[in-house]
Symmetry: C2
Subunit: 186 residues, 2 copies
């Protein structure tokens, strides 16, 4: 059943919510119509489960990248390197379930809106924490305030995901990341 959510997530990820039809989900989850409704209650409920799974995965990954036992600057670089990887070439073209959902549904669907807002807030908090540790280590550029800089980084990486839909080269994305981080960290 966890595997079914995962497979459904892949479908929503590739096609978006409205463009995903129930038969797509049945094929991906290998569930019958009846079983899918018994297990998840419907398309929208299953979507929320898939979105929660996606968010949990993203936050867990950041916890690894920002592991407090490691150098916070290395953590920031790893965090940004992950976005370079996910927003270049065919990875970029695949896009991001969260950004796509934010644009497609967050405005009109309160349940989705809360999850999207919560994710951005959580991500911002984690980046802020990493930047605070960077500052404590004396590695933050002069006059940079961790919370504000964190918001800049969050906007930047989400923008990378948008521009990534045009499948830029890895070199191009990496150069932008280097230019940004080089201005905030020393």
């Amino acid at each position: 059943m966890d595997a079914a959510v995962e497979r459904a997530m892949d479908v929503f990820w590739s096609r978006g919510y409205h463009a995903t039809a129930l038969p797509d989900l049945l094929r991906a989850t290998r569930l019958s119509r009846g079983s899918l409704y018994a297990a998840f209650g419907g398309k929208h409920s299953l979507f929320l489960r898939a979105l929660d799974r996606y968010i949990a995965g993203a936050l867990a990954r950041m916890d690894v990248e920002f592991d407090p036992r490691n150098d916070p600057v290395d953590g920031l670089r790893a965090y940004l390197a992950g976005y370079v990887d996910r927003t270049s070439g065919s990875n970029g073209r695949r896009g991001c379930l969260l950004v796509a959902t934010a644009m497609e549904l967050a405005g009109g669907d309160a349940e989705v809106g809360r999850r999207v807002a919560g994710f951005f807030k959580a991500m911002e908090a984690k980046v802020t924490n990493a930047l605070s540790r960077t500052k404590a280590a004396g590695r933050l550029a002069d006059g940079v305030e961790p919370a504000t800089a964190a918001r800049v980084l969050v906007c930047f990486v989400e923008g990378l995901r948008v521009v990534g839909k045009t499948a830029p080269t890895r070199t191009t994305s990496q150069a932008a990341v280097d230019a940004l981080i080089g201005r905030f960290v020393r």
Copy 2:
């Protein structure tokens, strides 16, 4: 007929492509079904027209903001201030037709993909130009390369549009903008 495209654009902008039904477009354009098909050929063609209109508007606005007769730094600030305005509060919640389209359609629709990629390229070129003029005026921070910094700015503003869907306060967005521009321009 131009007004009809404009009204259709508003509908696509608010709801996205798949969630916009033909009756929505008929109501907005005050056209009959037959007339809409005679004039535009169908939903998809009308959408492309609306998207082109949106892109033309955005590029025209940048030509004003980056008017070569004015200070390029003022231009950059005006450009970013426009994004702050469009991504705060209820303006933010409304979102951006181009970003929504990039996420919803750019991957699977070649005609849309070309337009989205072309827009980002054109925007990047305009920002690069403004940053080059900033550099010529000696106002660019040391070691900043206009083309790379332009890509950073483009990603940042598109990310603002994404995060803007959660309707942040104007103060928050403005602080992020100030923090970013302060690192690239002096």
